[in-house]
Symmetry: C2
């Protein structure tokens, strides 16, 4: 199996990407590195035959659609084109989410019957692995699109995460049937009719700790929820750090650090390595821009599972 790595995107590219890829390499997994040949060849352990030189690169601030159309020799476009042609089996990228999504839709294309590709977030809380989707790829959606998100989420959890018969819910402002805006109310009817294991609405406050396996949302609300939670988590971390900088016995400090680590560990869904782009014909995995070596290893494991079960 060949895995393409975008070695241009992300804060620690190309080194962290390459080192992660080499760590994830096995007899069955062969990495292919897309990026600047001169830089890649310098990195220990890179086989020059596994480099695909790219002369352009897509920047975070570029318009995704324009960048995908114009920068034909960027790592994202080349890797996705090779994926489409079958020369590689999956793509890992820490680059622009927008460009990867646009490229996924224009180059790799959607699976038959899928209206819109979706960007989920994987929430691993305690022993539960769940999926909130969409979190930003689709901001204006029909109720029928929400239904397809539910199916994609169930499908991913079953195939890749081994969750048996995942439960599905709709993100809403109340749990009772009949709550919500027009879009969600209509979606509720569709889900009730045809979604296996649909368990109703879930409120934002229960998404982390008391929710079903799949939480379906339009990309606008999903993004707002995710970033709102991240904002509070970031504040908690900042506040504790500031207070720990003050005068304090070292054993107290140590215990506080332990408590914080326990608490925040539960919330650390980034640990997971990234998220799959759902609804595409072939597997594409987006890792966080700040991904380190370990995140690339985790992403590769997920991607391999996607390839094997697709």
């Amino acid at each position: 199996m060949k895995i393409a790595y975008d070695c241009q995107g992300g804060d620690h590219a190309p080194h962290a990407i390459v080192r992660g890829a080499l760590k994830a390499k096995t007899e069955d997994i062969e990495p292919v590195f897309y990026g600047d040949r001169d830089a890649l060849i310098e990195i220990d352990g890179v086989d020059p035959e596994h480099i695909v030189h790219c002369s352009e690169s897509i920047l975070q601030e570029e318009s995704p659609v324009v960048a995908i159309r114009r920068k034909k020799d960027s790592a994202i476009v080349r890797a996705l084109a090779d994926l489409k042609k079958g020369e590689v089996d999956g793509v890992v990228s820490a680059g622009s989410t927008g460009a990867l999504l646009a490229g996924g839709m224009f180059i790799v294309k959607r699976k038959e019957g899928v209206e819109r590709a979706a960007l989920p977030v994987i929430l691993k809380v305690g022993s539960q692995t769940k999926l909130l989707l969409d979190v930003g790829a689709n901001v204006d959606v029909d109720p029928s699109t929400l239904l397809s998100f539910g199916h994609m989420g169930r499908d991913y959890l079953r195939r890749v995460e081994g969750v048996e018969d995942p439960t599905v819910s709709l993100l809403n402002i109340g749990t009772e049937e009949g709550k919500g805006n027009r879009q969600v109310k209509e979606a509720y009817e569709l889900f009730k009719e045809s979604m296996p294991n649909f368990v109703g609405n879930v409120e934002a406050r229960d998404v982390l700790f008391k929710s079903p396996d799949v939480i379906v949302s339009d990309g606008f609300s999903g993004n707002i929820l995710l970033k709102g939670m991240e904002g509070v988590i970031g504040y908690v971390q900042e506040s504790i750090k500031t207070q720990l900088a003050g005068d304090m016995p070292s054993d107290v400090k140590r215990q506080i650090v332990d408590i914080m680590r326990n608490m925040l560990g539960q919330l650390d869904y980034q640990r997971y390595g990234g998220v799959p782009l759902l609804g595409l014909e072939k597997p594409v995995f987006k890792v966080h821009g700040s991904s380190d070596e370990q995140a690339i290893v985790a992403a590769t494991e997920r991607l391999v599972k996607m390839v094997q079960t697709m």
Copy 2:
């Protein structure tokens, strides 16, 4: 000035409500208690002439619109009707938010030119007092309604909180112009044209600590954001509490409790006593169901300011 207190709603009614009202009482502020005469008359300090006996009460789980129409002798309906007639100057209630909103619109009515009444949340962070609205009263809105929310928010902050020329923003999934769903994109144009001190989009992660004074949202996204943040805060509190229950020297425990209190204090917007219903002809203040005496005092102070500046 006469302030009507709904003595039926809330977890600690009627005692906490009445005690708070009596504490907030001054020469200029006369409380009027709406509820069960027999229960009210038993409470120390209640002047029987200040009781308006109500034989019915609206329950949390009732349909707000139906309850308002049917239960004419409930505290909420009687107090709002007296407000409309000018027999009292403002209403404080810890009862059903939905019933209070429905009653506000049907009985008190909206201010001229106001399309929809809004439910904001007051976020007091550091020295900044800000308003996120709407958080659940209006789930399907037009861009022009969002514009009116911006005006109402500015107006309230200026009049009641003394914020000079408040800045206004739109809750969105990115800060750049052109981001967001159809609704927000259209609203952006309207805000750019006519909203004083409009500073653009704000992302959910910045709402608590790096946002302008007024954050405008439809009631669906606003509710999702608020509850999502509450979910994380609740988890942080729970997790710390559980860990503190473990074996630990008492001085360490004390320091951890201090640190947590500092941290969570910043997030504790409930301390504020509640939220005004915006866009109504006369002042109505909704306090949290779990409000204690102190929350009622704080709410009364806010309400008095609203009456004085309306």
